[in-house]
Symmetry: C2
Subunit: 363 residues, 2 copies
DNA sequence: GTGAAAGCGCTAACAG
DNA sequence: CTGTTAGCGCTTTCAC
């Protein structure tokens, strides 16, 4: 069996208390004693069991992470960011995924609380109304939402509304007037809601008519005829598509390719996520980038601030800057000038970064 | 504070022993008592602390997972597979990533062993010679390697050598004779070594001359002139490229596109990994697919078999079937017939599955 | 059927 | 500076 502090004490010829002190407060023991204890620790290959410490109650050095899925690179990158800092700080990560299922979210959090995690980092389906989070606020360990875009709870994310607005304004600045927003058929997350609000805002600001999101089935091999018709026929035919995420954008690009619609000549495409892989497409996908790794890192920092300094009960909301990832999927087109374009110019200050965050790692 | 078994005992008017029994062996207590205890558990919202149980020593229900990175979809998908089964079985996952760093691998395993995990699932840089694994064999908890392709240790993976051979044989069957294998500049992992061995084997079997792997810097924006020259000039000019992974294949495809080399007309491309995203490229990337989610699941099963049934000390090696993901990046070309093509025909039995494993999940 | 008590590995008073 | 002791939350004999 693995050696315990008792074995070390016996081997070194001291009490377990002295061994404990030698390990946790070396300066309080006699150097000679220290040496003997260290020697015993070495020969027995003793590693103090966190369980004993954890049971004593002070700190478990455990943090729970709850994510919808790892199949989406955005969340995998966030987790990567958390893990970097957590490992360096000597914390252990307990991970669960939920597949966007509220029941699984609850079970996961219950399990993690039972394990006495010191804090939680989580991405939930919808953060605005969520009894689970209310409970956490009331009597739970500190937590930080990640990628959830809500005003009412501690969270780290980009401003999805503003980011979407910026993207749509860029499309408008390129001469587009009929811009349609596309989304996945899943029930709207807070993120997607915010992105649509941003789209609506930018359109109205420019005096253009926003439309409801058009839902696309990403599982299908091709775009259904009805969708294709909506995209390519009639006076309402859009000249640009704003896709609520990059994977959707890629699926749509494939669908258009099969339908012989040229991108960007006949249709401009803007995605959201800034996946590194988008830069490898032909043409490279223009997208709104979110700093995923950095989001994970900052969520960690916010959380440890709450854990360490008891001062502020809840971490504040932290808004990280988004970026515009330029690509080849947006064409400038000639069109009637707008009455007012003053508000468009401010996007110039945005850094034009190409996929800053996600560098691939090759196996 | 969170309630303990003591609080429940006090509330119900029984001893903590009875409460413990009511929870863990309900049939051994008086039904009336059971009801009272249950009621107390409900009102206090008592959740037994795993820490107490874990300290008692029997089982921690903790499993450690050590991966090189999550930035690569292959590993993220594996983890997804593990998590599915682990959560269902009531196990908790402790995760660490290593960035292919041996030092971090060791620290991660040390930390997890200290936490008294009941088992480990890990992907290491190179499994064949690895003191860490020898230690685990000697006195550690059971472990299973995932995606590491080695004969000498418990592992779940595809047969990388055979998979690579199958892929190269397919290229040969399409008429290709000058086939080059491309790899990333990283020090070779056991996987890449096996894949190259498979390439060499298939080439020699067909009487063709294998060549050393050509290393490509995937971080660069374009292919360097020297590489481009090797790929496009002279009599040794290859007609097909076998890339040791899909991301590399995509980078190479972009490089060729920029150099105005048409795929597949002037160059055929075969990748390895079967990333779902490959199907979204133009043309869709042909690749050798690995069942990642299933690899994770099977690694879990192998591990729990070792944990549960003390019978076999070590789980055996498990080889999962690979698949050929058809795409549009391979062209048939006319070429001199081979002396012997009998050995090629056997690839017909391989399932031609298009990206069976990785369905995207959209946020 | 139930309770008292010991002990898992460790830390933190409190004595010596 | 070091040892003794009392728990942390829980399970598990062993009596009653």
């Amino acid at each position: 069996m693995t050696p315990t502090i008792k074995d070390v004490a016996a081997h070194a010829g001291f009490s377990i208390a002295t061994v404990s002190r030698a390990i946790n407060a070396p300066h309080t023991v006699n150097p000679a004693t220290l040496a003997k204890v260290r020697e015993a620790v070495e020969t027995l290959r003793f590693r103090p069991s966190p369980l004993g410490r954890q049971l004593r109650g002070e700190r478990t050095r455990l943090v729970g992470v709850v994510l919808p899925t790892l199949a989406h690179p955005v969340f995998a990158e966030c987790l990567q960011g958390i893990d970097e800092l957590a490992a360096a700080a000597g914390f252990r990560l307990m991970l669960t995924t939920t597949q966007y299922d509220t029941g699984r979210e609850r079970r996961a959090v219950d399990m993690l609380r039972a394990q006495r995690v010191e804090g939680l980092i989580l991405t939930v389906a919808d953060a605005d109304s969520h009894p689970l989070l209310d409970e956490l606020d009331a009597d739970g360990p500190p937590y930080v939402l990640m990628h959830n875009d809500t005003q009412h709870r501690p969270a780290v994310s980009v401003d999805n509304r503003e980011a979407a607005s910026d993207g749509v304004r860029m499309l408008i600045a390129h001469g587009h007037r009929r811009i349609l927003m596309l989304s996945t058929p899943l029930p709207a997350s807070d993120r997607v809601r915010q992105r649509h609000a941003g789209y609506v805002h930018a359109m109205q600001q420019a005096g253009l008519a926003p439309e409801p999101m058009l839902e696309i089935d990403t599982a299908a091999d091709a775009l259904p005829p009805s969708v294709l018709a909506r995209l390519t026929n009639g006076a309402r035919r859009p000249t640009a598509l704003f896709c609520c995420n990059d994977l959707l954008a890629m699926v749509v690009m494939r669908g258009l390719r099969h339908a012989r619609v040229r991108v960007p000549q006949e249709m401009s495409i803007l995605g959201f996520d800034g996946l590194a892989m988008g830069a490898l497409l032909a043409p490279p996908l223009a997208s709104i980038g979110t700093p995923n790794r950095e989001t994970g890192r900052m969520a960690w920092r916010q959380l440890t601030a709450s854990i360490g300094g008891e001062c502020t009960g809840a971490a504040p909301r932290l808004v990280l800057p988004h970026t515009l990832c330029e690509g080849g999927t947006i064409a400038a087109i000639a069109s009637a000038p707008l009455a007012d374009v003053a508000h468009i110019t401010h996007i110039a200050h945005l850094a034009r970064v190409s996929h800053e965050d996600g560098e691939f790692e090759l196996p």
